[in-house]
């Protein structure tokens, strides 16, 4: 899918936010799925949208993310205490797949992470 040109709201938000927080433009007609693949979780991870829990689980999950037109915040938090841990958070927007975060013990990544992205539905 060709990348849509950023509209004014997306550009303004990008300029306003600190570095490290991504802004993703989402077509209003697109189906959005949150896909989580994990290994050896003993602490439930959480995926949240606009302050509400979308997924809280210890296993692989895939959930639709219903979004109205406007700006939304998608957040996540993972914490690991078991050997061999791994997590991968992917956002599927229509036919486009975007990996938001992929970390593992094998890559010697930090054992916990908290992230946020902005989703601008136009």
């Amino acid at each position: 899918m060709a990348k849509a040109p950023a509209n004014a709201a997306t550009s303004a938000l990008k300029a306003a936010l600190p570095e490290g927080i991504e802004v993703i433009q989402v077509p209003a007609t697109a189906t959005v799925l949150v896909d989580v693949n994990v290994n050896d979780m003993v602490i439930p991870y959480t995926i949240a949208a606009d302050g509400s829990v979308l997924i809280k689980s210890l296993v692989d999950r895939r959930e639709p993310l219903p979004l109205g037109v406007g700006t939304h915040r998608l957040g996540w938090a993972f914490a690991h205490a078991a050997k061999g841990w791994m997590h991968e958070l992917t956002l599927k927007i229509g036919n486009t797949t975007k990996v938001l975060e992929k970390k593992s013990e094998a890559n010697k990544d930090q054992d916990h992470s908290v992230g946020v992205v902005f989703l601008v539905v136009v």
């Binding site: 979780m41 995926i47 509400s52 210890l58 692989d60 914490a79 908290v114």
Partner: protein, 456 residues
């Protein structure tokens, strides 16, 4: 991170223009219920509103957000405090919602905290280790004592068995479920382990404790077995002991770390501050939880037998107890064993039976974290062992008390290999013959075999 008036103005324009959508997300109900946090969050925001307003720099604002998040997780009303049955039901429900498979299960604590035992030191006469840890290897493991460090003549092999292994076949059908769910399916079986040591050639004196018999260093073929039962505690983070800590407590902190930075009451411009604060506090809570697991008490009991395979009526039986307890970054291990061994007939005597108490204690700690291998630490262990003969008047020889002090430094090598270096002192030099190098009352052992094995 900077916050400029221009940036705030642009965000304000976005919000007032109606760009910010409703907070409602019509997702299906998650199997693990979220906490109710809005009121608690509002209270914290109200409490810190003044400080936040007066924070003029990014660093000051970041500090206030951290205090706010710490205050939020101190609110005990946020934690569900579920019963063990409810926590188990959560795991069952959650595992049924899985969309893909997961693979191996493992553990993550400091390397010395798991308290594993692979060479059955308490009952294996061929090992130079003085104490045995309470926990056991998982499933089926083979610890080949092919090096001089562990064997009088370099041939003993210990086969470690776990009762769980008998049921492994059925368990592999459930690999799509969560790690804790799989663990509690056979949790009680994990308490029972055993080992079989064969191929050991051990000196006569190792069995009887008598160094004055005609040929105390004569090597005899021996077969040893043991059964170990973990009576108290479990340092595996998947164990049900830790469901409350990991699912209830840390699960709630993790949820707050994900929801608060995205909450509509947190200004868009402060999202970065809230995220960083949540990450820092979550990391602190995770470290505290790992220390709690690492330092928990473990108690095991063990029964074992040693049998000379080419000499009839020559057996040794042992009963012992092992205790492990962590303090900060150090593990304390204590063993107490009582043994009875058949001794051969000596000049003008019939065969007789010796009885001993053996007491051992060790401190094991992880040092040089990340210094030699990233993500791994060296293990330093100091142990003290004493053998106290409990002979009656019928024993025709005078056996003395034996004391040993051992220090072992185990260096990490590559991802999994270990290189042990060991120094041992004994008041009886006859007890140092298992060491690689002996001078006076001090023995030195080392094993560089791991280096070559790592490259194979």
């Amino acid at each position: 991170m900077t916050t400029t008036p221009n940036r705030l103005l642009r965000i304000a324009l976005l919000v007032t223009a109606g760009s910010f959508a409703s907070a409602s997300v019509n997702a299906q109900i998650p199997p693990i219920s979220p906490v109710t946090r809005d009121a608690a969050l509002a209270a914290v925001q109200s409490q810190f509103a003044g400080q936040l307003a007066s924070a003029t720099t990014a660093a000051a604002k970041q500090a206030v957000y951290r205090q706010m998040f710490e205050a939020l997780i101190r609110n005990e009303s946020l934690y569900p405090k579920l019963t063990p049955q409810q926590l188990r039901q959560i795991l069952v429900n959650d595992s049924s919602a899985v969309t893909q498979s997961i693979v191996d299960v493992g553990r993550n604590l400091r390397e010395s905290a798991i308290a594993p035992s692979t060479n059955a030191p308490m009952s294996n006469p061929a090992t130079t280790q003085l104490v045995e840890r309470s926990a056991s290897t998982e499933l089926l493991a083979l610890a080949a004592d092919l090096k001089q460090l562990f064997s009088a003549d370099g041939s003993a092999i210990t086969l470690n068995l776990n009762a769980l292994g008998l049921f492994r076949g059925s368990q592999t059908k459930e690999v799509i479920a969560g790690a804790q769910y799989l663990y509690f399916q056979r949790e009680q079986l994990r308490r029972l382990t055993g080992s079989v040591t064969f191929g050991a050639k051990i000196p006569e004196k190792e069995i009887t404790g008598i160094t004055t018999i005609p040929d105390p260093d004569k090597l005899l073929d021996a077969f040893a077995w043991d059964v170990k039962f973990r009576a108290y505690g479990d340092r595996d983070p998947r164990a049900s002991n830790w469901h409350e800590l990991f699912i209830d407590r840390l699960g709630t902190v993790t949820e707050l770390a994900a929801t608060v930075p995205t909450h509509p009451t947190v200004p868009l411009s402060d999202t970065g501050f809230a995220r960083t604060a949540a990450s820092e506090v979550l990391g602190d809570e995770l470290r505290a939880a790992a220390n709690r697991v690492s330092n928990s008490l473990l108690v095991s009991v063990k029964f074992s037998g040693q049998h000379l395979t080419k000499e009839s009526g020559r057996n040794k039986y042992l009963a012992g107890m092992m205790v492990d307890k962590g303090f900060a970054d150090v593990d304390f291990t204590a063993n107490a064993t009582f043994s009875a061994a058949d001794a051969p007939a000596m000049d003008a005597t019939d065969p007789f039976r010796t009885r001993d108490w053996q007491l051992a204690a060790a401190l094991t700690g992880s040092i040089l974290k990340d210094a030699l291998v990233k993500g791994r630490a060296a293990e330093l262990s100091t142990s003290l062992s004493g053998i106290i003969p409990m002979d009656d008047d019928g024993i025709p020889v005078d056996r003395k008390r034996i004391v040993k002090v051992n220090t072992t430094l185990t260096l990490p090598f590559m991802d999994k290999a270990k290189i042990p270096l060991s120094f041992t002192y004994s008041n009886d030099p006859n007890n140092l013959k298992k060491e690689k190098y002996v001078t006076g009352q001090i023995g030195v052992s080392y094993d560089f075999g791991a280096i070559w094995n790592a490259f194979k």
